[in-house]
């Protein structure tokens, strides 16, 4: 490749970086600006103020909301891994009557976006007294549509395992549950990783459901809390909002940079199967 071509390509790549880098840079720097000069076009604040970062915690129970999002995402991820790997394994490796019909029933979940069923689900959880609790945010993703996709991905993985491994384990006297736990699951680590990343991000980003189900501030999850930083006249407190957004985005970004290969391959994999 000629030098000219090389310079041209790098130039093009750098220009294309702007919409990806500029927002993050602007979010972090603006979060240190006082709200009065928030719209001043400075690439770094003229005076750095920690006040907005403090206000995030005084205006809302932000630590509590952070905890809500974190614990819900962790439970949903662990629960989905258990549910999806067990069902995926059974559909792929065990023969039992009615298997294909039951698999079709589970697969219908792939056809139906959760937005379609939000009205009946709201009514269901309302009659169970679970509105304004975290139960809908845990149960629906863990057992509903995203978990169906996870089941499908696990099944596609388990189908590729060589049958000889299980035969050998059988001859050694292992039962099904032991074969699943000691042989199939350890081999499924890449698929489990992909499902875990996808499920965690799905739960972490969930927005329509919290808006519909949750009404008390102490029970908000992060996406919902982020939109609530306003002053007494409903004017947006941009600097506080951007501080909170930074706190939401930066930890995930750090984990992403450390484990970028797993993230990119895992999400591309789940994306394709979806």
């Amino acid at each position: 490749m000629s030098l000219k071509m090389r310079i041209f390509l790098y130039g093009l790549l750098l220009v294309l970086c702007v919409p990806f880098v500029f927002p993050t840079w602007w979010m972090i720097t603006s979060s240190f600006k006082p709200n009065a000069s928030i719209f001043a076009f400075d690439f770094a604040p003229s005076t750095w103020s920690l006040e907005p970062w403090r206000q995030v915690f005084t205006m809302q129970p932000f630590a509590q909301q952070y905890w809500n999002s974190a614990y819900i995402a962790v439970i949903v991820t662990l629960g989905t891994l258990v549910v999806a790997s067990m069902a995926g394994y059974a559909f792929a490796r065990i023969r039992f009557p009615g298997q294909n019909v039951l698999f079709l029933v589970v697969l219908t979940g792939l056809l139906i976006p959760s937005e379609v069923t939000i009205v009946p689900l709201f009514r269901m959880f309302n009659s169970l007294g679970m509105v304004d609790t975290h139960w809908p945010l845990i149960l629906v993703p863990m057992l509903g549509p995203p978990s169906v996709l996870a089941t499908f991905i696990m099944r596609q993985f388990f189908i590729t395992l060589p049958g000889e491994l299980e035969e050998a384990a059988r001859i050694d006297g292992l039962g099904r549950p032991a074969i699943f736990r000691r042989i199939a699951l350890p081999l499924a680590r890449p698929a489990l990783g992909a499902v875990a990343i996808f499920t965690f991000l799905h739960s972490w980003n969930l927005y329509l459901e919290p808006v519909v189900y949750i009404s008390s501030q102490t029970k908000y999850t992060l996406p919902q809390a982020l939109t609530q930083f306003t002053d007494a006249y409903q004017g947006q407190l941009w600097n506080v909002q951007l501080s909170a957004a930074s706190m939401t985005a930066i930890p995930v970004l750090i984990v992403f940079v450390i484990a970028q290969r797993q993230f990119i391959e895992g999400l591309a994999h789940t994306g394709l199967k979806g």
Partner: protein, 312 residues
């Protein structure tokens, strides 16, 4: 001693008599137990609600007024006559088409650039992918801030002497803004899928075309594009179905406005059901959304069949 007890005793002591729990039966039981949670979940949180939403769509149901009356096809007539619906469908189609065209176009450009033999492509790949993992709400809020009349985007434009519009508040630019914000959020995912497809194109084909004297553009159009077309079709369907579920971006950036210019179907459904408490009509809109997604999925299957034919 009765005969029955006697028999039971012999059965227990009989050597080698197969127990009821043969390996096959035990396997069946394990299979059923393993799928139970997923099956219960699919029935309770997908299948049943889907049936219910169709049932509810036949009712006049206002939560505030506490009415729940069977009205038959009344809600569907309302849907056909609702003056907002054409605008909503138009906004939904515009958003989906705009998103697919811009997302796939940019993803293809990025993938081709990163497929060159350049140093540092890993760095750029990570960078372009990073918005995919950034919290959707954080990303949307930052762009909402940038797109304010006196915000960062217009600040950047003014460096080049361009006086930018009030992106989110004027009819001509609100939809474009919402689409573009969504494109930058997720383009990394399609970029990675395209990159994998590009790397699967055999090098010999390129070399053969070069020896035949084909130019760069011809090679791309006649060899690369046809060979990666399955990936293009697949990503476009995933992107379209995903675009029908967009809610947070609309809710944060434009609240469906100005007017109803960015009111997509999911947002309208949310407004009707959870802001105006019309659960019956909201259910009707849900059924409409489901039918659209279903039609697109069937289309996907049909197209997949066709490629398999092509490939063989």
């Amino acid at each position: 001693m009765t005969l029955l007890q006697d028999r039971a005793a012999t059965a227990r002591s009989a050597p080698g008599r197969p127990s009821y729990w043969t390996m096959r039966r035990r396997d069946h039981l394990t299979g059923y137990l393993f799928i139970t949670p997923a099956l219960v979940g699919a029935v309770a949180f997908v299948f049943l609600p889907l049936v219910l939403v169709v049932w509810y769509s036949l009712h006049e149901w206002n939560v505030l007024a506490d009415t729940f009356d069977f009205v038959g096809s009344e809600n569907y007539r309302k849907l056909a006559e609702d003056p907002n619906v054409p605008g909503v469908l138009r906004a939904t189609a515009l958003f989906s088409i705009g998103l697919v065209v811009l997302n796939l176009g940019l993803a293809l450009v990025l993938a081709v650039l990163l497929n060159q033999k350049l140093r540092g492509t890993t760095f750029f790949r990570v960078l372009f992918f990073s918005p995919v993992v950034v919290s959707l709400l954080a990303w949307t809020i930052v762009w909402g801030f940038l797109l304010q009349d006196n915000g960062g985007v217009n600040g950047l434009l003014s460096l080049f002497g361009i006086d930018g519009p009030n992106w989110l508040r004027s009819g001509g630019t609100a939809m474009v803004s919402v689409v573009v914000v969504q494109v930058f959020k997720n383009v990394g995912l399609n970029m990675v899928l395209f990159l994998a497809a590009l790397q699967g194109v055999p090098q010999e084909l390129y070399e053969a075309a070069r020896t035949d004297g084909a130019g760069r553009w011809t090679v791309f159009r006649r060899i690369t594009l046809p060979l990666i077309s399955p990936t293009i079709l697949l990503t476009s369907i995933i992107t379209v179905v995903g675009s029908l579920q967009v809610f947070a971006q609309i809710s944060v950036l434009t609240q469906g406005g100005p007017g109803t210019s960015t009111t997509v179907l999911v947002y309208y459904l949310y407004q009707q059901a959870f802001q105006f408490h019309a659960f019956g009509y909201g259910s009707t809109l849900s059924v409409l959304l489901f039918l659209i997604v279903l039609a697109l999925t069937v289309l996907q299957w049909q197209m997949r069949k066709r490629w398999v034919f092509h490939e063989s």
